[in-house]
Symmetry: D2
Subunit: 469 residues, 4 copies
C-alpha cells in the first residue's frame, strides 16, 4: 500500500492518494479542483486512478471529485447516508456508486470501508483503510471534517453559512454520537483529517498533519465530554462567522461542480492517446530524430522541435484535422506559436514524452527504426538487398544520388507510397538528415522495415562513396 497526502495551504485542505502497487490501482480521497496534481502523482508512482471519493459535501472549496472521475474514467463513490435533502443530486447522472454505513470497496488489495459519521454535515462518511496484503486489521481512517488533530468539524455551517435553519443543534448531537462510536476503535489507528491548522471548518486545529485515535481520545477536547448536552453547548459556542462563499460551495458541490475552464492546450491522457490514434487526431512527435528512431508510438509523425520544425509543418500538415503534440511542456508554447504563424491553429492537446512509458506499461508496443552512418549502410545495403529511397527534390536528385535510388520527394511521399517496394528493407536518405527521419516515421508507420541514413547524401559524399547522376 502507498499513501500520499496533498495539502492545499491557502485552504488548509488535505486530500489523499491510496495506492496498491501490486495491482497499479489508486484511490483519491477529497480531491479539490486542481485535479492535475492527483493525475500526475499517480502517474509518477506508476498507478492508475481507478476510484475517487469524498467524505462529504464540502463547504469551503469546489470539489474535484466529479471531474477527476470523469477525466480518468475512475469509479466515483459518493455518500448515500443521511436525510434525503442532503443527497448528491448529480450522483445518478455521474454514474456514481452510492455508499452507506458499512459498505466497502477494494482498491487493489486495499479495503476501504465507509462509516457514517454525521455531525459536521448529515451525510458525512469516514473511511477505514485496511491493507489486506499485509494485515487483517485497519491501519487508519480518513476522517474528513469529522475529527481533526485536536478538534472536530463544526456542526453549524449548514445553518450559519448555507442558511438551513434548525440544523445546527441536531448536527451537534449527531457529532457527539459519532465520537462515541469512534471510542470503540483501536488506539493505534492513524487519523488522516481533511483539514489542517487555519481552516474555517473548525476552531482550533493543530499544526501536526495527522494524529492517532489513541492520542485524540486522550487530548482532543471533544472526546473529553461525557455529557451530550454539555458537548452540544461547547461545540456551538464561539464559532467564528463563516465566509459568505461557503453557501455557494455547498450548493455547487451538492448539485455537481462544473469542470474547471481548460487551458487552450491541455495535457492529454493515455486514454486520449489510445482513442486518438484510431480517430481524427494527427499525432506529431516533436522529440529528436534519435529519440524518435529509438522508439515511438506507431502512427505518429516525427517533426523534431528545432529550426526546421516550421518548414516541415508547412509542407506536411493538413489544415482540416486536429493536431496533437508529443513534447515537453516547456517547449509547447514555442511550437504552438510557430504553428499559429502559418495558421495551423487546430492544436488541441499534448503529451509529455513520459507518455511513451505509460504506453508501454499498458502492454502497447513501440515502433522503431535504425539510424546508421553512410559507411555502415553501404555494406548492409548490398548484403541485405535493401531498396533505396531518396526523398529529396528532383533537382537535388538530378545533381547526384546513390546508385539505384528511387526518388520520391518528402512532400509527395504520402500520395506516392505505392511506388515503394514492400518486400525488402528500405534505406531512406535525404541531403543532410533532416528530412529522412520524417520519411522514416511515415513509412515505419505503414509497415516498412526502415533504415535511415544519419548524415544524408552529404555524409555519403564526404565518405567518398559512389554516386550517380
Amino acid at each position: 500500500m502507498l499513501l500520499r497526502r496533498f495539502y492545499q495551504e491557502e485552504l488548509a485542505q488535505a486530500g489523499y492518494l491510496v495506492g496498491c502497487q501490486a495491482t497499479g490501482e489508486a484511490l483519491i480521497v477529497d480531491p479539490n479542483r486542481d485535479i492535475d496534481q492527483y493525475i500526475q502523482a499517480a502517474q509518477k508512482e506508476g498507478l492508475r486512478i481507478t476510484a475517487v471519493t469524498e467524505t462529504h459535501i464540502h463547504a469551503d472549496f469546489v470539489s474535484g471529485a466529479r471531474e477527476l472521475a470523469a477525466r480518468t474514467a475512475a469509479k466515483l463513490y459518493l455518500s448515500d447516508a443521511g436525510p434525503a435533502e442532503w443527497k448528491y443530486s448529480y450522483a445518478a447522472e455521474a454514474g456514481a456508486i452510492l455508499l452507506r454505513d458499512g459498505d466497502h470497496f477494494m482498491v487493489g488489495n486495499v479495503r476501504i470501508e465507509a462509516i457514517h459519521t454525521p455531525g459536521h454535515t448529515p451525510e458525512h462518511l469516514s473511511f477505514l483503510v485496511t491493507d489486506t496484503a499485509g494485515a487483517d486489521r485497519p491501519m487508519g481512517v480518513f476522517t474528513g471534517d469529522f475529527i481533526f488533530v485536536g478538534d472536530v468539524g463544526r456542526p453549524d455551517l449548514l445553518e450559519r453559512a448555507a442558511g438551513v435553519a434548525g440544523t445546527m443543534e441536531p448536527g451537534a448531537h449527531d457529532l457527539y454520537r459519532s465520537l462515541q462510536r469512534f471510542k470503540e476503535l483501536p488506539d493505534y489507528l492513524q487519523i488522516w483529517p481533511g483539514h489542517g491548522a487555519g481552516s474555517a471548518c473548525g476552531r482550533a486545529l493543530g499544526a501536526v498533519p495527522q494524529s492517532t485515535l489513541g492520542y485524540e481520545k486522550l487530548f482532543n477536547w471533544a472526546f473529553g465530554y461525557t455529557d451530550e448536552q454539555a458537548f452540544v453547548h461547547a461545540v456551538l459556542e464561539g464559532q467564528p462567522e463563516p465566509p459568505p462563499y461557503f453557501a455557494q460551495m455547498k450548493r455547487i458541490n451538492k448539485h455537481g461542480p462544473a469542470p474547471r475552464p481548460q487551458e487552450l492546450l491541455r495535457q492529454l491522457s493515455l486514454q486520449d492517446l489510445e482513442h486518438g490514434r484510431a480517430g481524427e487526431l494527427l499525432l506529431i512527435d516533436a522529440r529528436s530524430a534519435d529519440g524518435y528512431a529509438a522508439g515511438h508510438i506507431p502512427g505518429t509523425l516525427n517533426l523534431p522541435a528545432g529550426s526546421t520544425f516550421l518548414t516541415w509543418a508547412g509542407w506536411l500538415l493538413p489544415y482540416d484535422r486536429p493536431l496533437t503534440l508529443i513534447v515537453e511542456q516547456s517547449r509547447l508554447p514555442e511550437l504552438r506559436d510557430l504553428l499559429a504563424l502559418i495558421g495551423l491553429d487546430q492544436v488541441v492537446g499534448y503529451w509529455e514524452p513520459a507518455i511513451l512509458e505509460a504506453w508501454q506499461s499498458q502492454g502497447h508496443k513501440l515502433a522503431r527504426f535504425d539510424r546508421r552512418s553512410a559507411r555502415d549502410l553501404q555494406t548492409q545495403a548490398a548484403e541485405r538487398g535493401m531498396a533505396i529511397l531518396d526523398v529529396r527534390t528532383p533537382a537535388e536528385y538530378a545533381a547526384g544520388h546513390i546508385p539505384g535510388a528511387l526518388n520520391i520527394p518528402l512532400n509527395q511521399l504520402q500520395s506516392r507510397v505505392r511506388e515503394i517496394p514492400r518486400d525488402q528493407p528500405l534505406l531512406v536518405y535525404c541531403q543532410s538528415g533532416a528530412r529522412s527521419p520524417i520519411a522514416a516515421s511515415l513509412l515505419t508507420g505503414q509497415g516498412w522495415e526502415v533504415v535511415e541514413m544519419r548524415a544524408g547524401f552529404a555524409g555519403w559524399q564526404s565518405a567518398g562513396l559512389p554516386c550517380e547522376r
Copy 2:
C-alpha cells in the same frame, strides 16, 4: 524617429516598428500573427501603435495586420494598387485606408510614402520613409519582398503556389520595371527588406540584415540586367518548389485572417482598462499593500497576492461579474488557480503592474492613501480630528479597540458604507494590517481621505497606547 526590426527566425521574416518620439505614435510594417511582440515593444518605448500596414499579401505566413489594427484601434493601411483580382477583399469591412502609388501618410513627424513595386505580387508596395523632424529627404525604404539583400522577390509564387496560371511571366516583367524605377533613387537610402537568408520567397538572400540602395545597385544580380527579356528568363529559372501551404496563406491573407485563438487569460490593454472601469469588470490589484497605497488606479480593489489572498477573495468577490487582475504575469497562474479552487472562474484578463505608468502617461490620475504606524497616528488623529474605523469582527472589537472607533467588519463594509462620516479624514485599522488596506482601497475609491494603520490593533497595543473595551 525610432526604428526597430522584428525578426522571426523560422520564417526568416522581418517586420518593423517606426516611431515618432515627439508625438508618441508608432507604425508597424508587415506584422505577423504574433502581435503581442509589437504591442509590447511599442509600450516599452513609450509609444502607441497608431498605424499598421503591410507591403503585400504575404504567401508564407498569416498576416497580423488586421488583428493588430483591431486590437490597438490603429489605422490600417492596405494596398489598392494592381489589378482588381488582387485587392484585399476585407478592406472595407476592416475600415482600411487604401493606398496607391504616391500616396503618403504621417506617423507623427515621419512621412511614409507608398511606391507601387509590382513583381513579386501585383499589388506590392514599398514604403519610403522620411524623418521630417531632422531631414527633408528620405532615410530608407521598406521593400518587403521586392528587394532583398542580394536578391529580389520571386515573381512565380502566384502561379506556382497559388495556381493562378499565366501570372509568372508578367510578374517578372513588372519586377524588371520596378527595379529600373528604383535606380533613380539615391544611393544612401537604407534598404529594409521583408526577409532574410533562408526564406522561400527568394533564392539567394544574404545574411546581412539590411543594405543600402547604392550597394545593391552595384552588387545585387537583379540590378545587373539591362535587357528585360534576359532578366525575365533569369529570374524565373531555377526557383525551388514552393511549400504547398503558401496557397492557403495567399487566400487567408487576401480575404482577411482570423485572429489567433486566445489564451484563456489574455493581457489587457490600456484601452481595456479605460473601458473596464466604467463597466462590468471588477478590477483587483494584487500588488502589495505598500505598493497599492502609494498609488493605484481608482476603483480597484486591493487583494495582495500571498497567503491571505484566497481568504479575502472568498469574503469579498462576487460570483456573477467578470474579474480582472493587476499582477505580474509570473504570479498569474497561481492566483487564477487559487480563485478556481473556490469556483471564481470568471477571470477574463490581467494587466502587468507597468500598466500604472501607461495609465499616468495618458494623463489619468492615481489614487493613494497613507500608511502610518500606530504612534504616528495617535498624534495625528487628535490633531486632525480624524474619524476612526475598526474593520474587524464584532468579537475582536469587543475584546478591545481604539477609544471612539466605529466598528464595521470588512465583509459588511460595502453595504454599510453610509454609516461612515464623510467630512473628516478617516483612520482605518484591523488586527494585524491584512484587512485594513483592503478597506482603505474600498473607501479611497469612494472619496474618503483615508489613513491606514500599518500594524493594526496589535501594533497599537504593543506600543502601549490606550484601549477601550
Copy 3:
C-alpha cells in the same frame, strides 16, 4: 506544536521540523545537506531554527546538521551513546551538546527525550516528542533508521559497507533489545522514521510515510520475533549489497561534513543583515521607489531594478566595498550581470524582500518617507516650512527650478551633505522622479525627515506651479 516532514525522493530520506508556535523556536531532525529547505520552511512558518539534531551517523548521505547549526547559530545535539569508537569526532569543535539515553531538551514547549536505540548503528538515538502545552504524554517518536514502516534498519552496514569487521552480529542483538524496549511504549504513538520505500538502509520499507507503534507491534515482522537468536539470523539474511559510497558517508559524517560549496551569490540571513549594516557591506534595496518609500531597512540605498539601475549604480557605487542586494531571486542574475558590465563584481549576497518582515518580527524598525505630488507639496511646503533640495545637475537647475531650492546634484550628495539644513522637513525633487527617491534614501538614512516629490520638476511644471531661473 507544528510538525513538517521533508522527503528527499532519490534517497528516500526523511527529515523533520518540530516547531513551537508559542515561542517561535524550531528543531530540525536529520537534515541532509540541502539545508536551505529547512531555513526557508522555518521562515515561512515564522519560526527560528534554534536546535538541530540527528538520530545517528548516516551512511547514505552527507549530513547537513553541522552546517545548518552553524548557519543558524542553533544548538547542535549529537549522540554520546554507544562505544567510544562511534563518537562524533567533531562534536567538541562544533560546540555540540551531547546526549545519552534519557537526556532531554526543550524546543519551546515541546520536550524532546533521547532514547538510546542501538542496532542499525551503535550510537543510534530515537527522540520521544511531548507537546507539553497540550498534553502530558508523548505524541510520537523520531525513530531514524531504527524502526521503519514495516521494517527495521539493517545492522550490517558498518561491517558490509564501512568494513568494521565483527559489528554486524552484535548490532543485530542490540537491535533485538531495542525493539523489546519499545514494546513497553503506548500503541497510540506516531512513528516518524528516517526513510521510506526504496532506501538501501532497510530491506522492505513500506510506502506509507509514517505509522503508529501499535500497528508496527502487530504487523512489522521484526516485532514478531520472540527468540533473539532467530531474529538475529533473520535480520542478517538476504540484505542486499550496500553501495560503495556508504563507506565515505560514514567517515565524513563521523568526522564532520564540510559545508556545501556555495553559489557565487548566496541568499543571506537575518543575522547577515544585522551584522552587515554595522560593517563593511553596502546594502542596495532594488525594490520600486514606492515600496522603498513605504518602508525600508535604515541605511540601505534605493536603486530600483529597471532601466536606470545601471546608470545610477555607475554614478553612486564604490569599487572597493562588498555589495549586497535586496531583490527577488528571479531578478538577481539580471542585476548582477548589469553590475558586472561596469566592473562592479563585488556582489556577495542578497536577501529576498521578505527579509523586511523578518527584520520587523525581530523588533527592528523600518524607515520610511513620503512621496507626494507637486500640488500636495506646494501647499505643505509653505505650511510646514520645508527646506527644498534640487538634486539635478547645475544645467538642469539653471534652466528652471522651484523658488528657493538648494541645488546639490545627486552624485555630489554624499560629499556635500553638510550644506543641507537639519532643522526642517526636507522636500527633495529631481526632474522626473528617478533620482529623488535615491536622494531620499540617502538622507532618510542620515536622519532627515524627507518628503519626496513623485513626478519631479516635470510634474511641477505641468501643474503650472511657479518656477524660478
Copy 4:
C-alpha cells in the same frame, strides 16, 4: 557574409558579429563582458569565433575582448595607433596583433581594414568591411564611438572623466580631421556605430540603429561644419557631466580587464571537451539511454537524469576526480544538488547536449550502440554468435538468467573488464533496462560492439524466452 548586432539596452551599446559562412569563421567587434552571448550566437550560426577586436579603449563598460579571445582561442586585434600613452598595456601579454591605419586582416572571405579615426579617443580605429566573395568594394564601416546616427563621439571624456588635462581640445581637432577623411568614402556605405540613443558617449544619438554615410553627410550636424575652429567650439559645448565610473573603465580597459567572476558551474566549450577527454575529467552524459545509445562522445559515462541518477552516481563515481556533465542547463541545478547530497562536490562544468553537433561538425566521431527488444535479440544472438553479459547482482543472476550469460555486476564492471570476451559482439542486459545502458556506455567506450537489451531480463521473461537458473 553574415552580420549580427548585439545591443545592450542599459548601456545603449552595440557590438557586432561578422561571419563568413564559407569558412565558418567569425569576428566579434566591441564585445562587452557578457561574452557568453557572442559564443552562443556564433555556435547557433555554425561559426567559430576566430577573431576579436574593439574600436577603442571604452570608457563606459568593461571590455570583454580580452576574455573572449582567451576563452575562444581567437586572435585579438588591438589598436596601435595614436600616442604612446594610449597604447594597450596588456597587448603583449595577451598576444594581441596590433593594428595601425591601413592594416587589414581577413575573416574567411571578409576583409577588415583599420582606419585610424582619432577624436573620441586618440587610438580610435574604424573598420571598413568588404565581402570579397560577392563584391570588390566595402559594404560598411564599424565606426565605434566616432560616428553615431546623427552625432559624433564626444572628445572631452579623457579630460573630463579620466582627468587627462589638455586632451579635450586636441581631440576635437582630431575629430574634425577624421570626419573630413570620411567625406571621401562612398555614400552607400552602411554605418554601424558603437552606441545608440541614450549613451553618455555622445550628446544626441538617434534611435535608428544604423545609418548610411551618405545620409550622415547630409544630416549629421558634425558633417555640416566646414570651419575647424567653429566645429571644435560646437563639439565641446554643452556636453553633460560624465559619470565618475568612466575613469575606472578607462584604466581597466587599457591595462587589461579581468575576466568576470565565474558561476560555480560554468558552461564548457568544445575545446574544454577536446582537452577534457584526454585528461582528468570524468564526463557524464545525463541524457536518456535512447539518446545516448543513438550517439555519444566516446569515453563518456551515461547516467540518465531521473529517479535512478543518484543511485548509480553513488555506485559508480569516484570522489577524487573532477566531474563534468552533458545536460540541459535547466536540469543542471537538480543534478548538482543530488550529487552534493552524497558529497560529490567536484562538478566543475557542463555542456548543453548541442555540444554533440559541434563535436561532429569538427570532424569528430560519435560512438553508438544498438538497443533491441528481447525477441529481436534472441534471434540475433544465435545468428551472430554474440557473447552475453548479465550486469545484475549475483542474487538476481542466481534467481534466473539467459542461458550462457556471464555475470559481472555493474559495480564490478570496471575492475573485471578483462573477463569479457573481446572477439564477439556483446549482448548486455540487466533486470529492467536501467543498468544495462550504463554498462553499454562503459564497454562501448573500451571498444566492444555492444547490443543492449531494452527491457532487461524482465522483458525477456515476459516474452516467454528460455531461462536458466
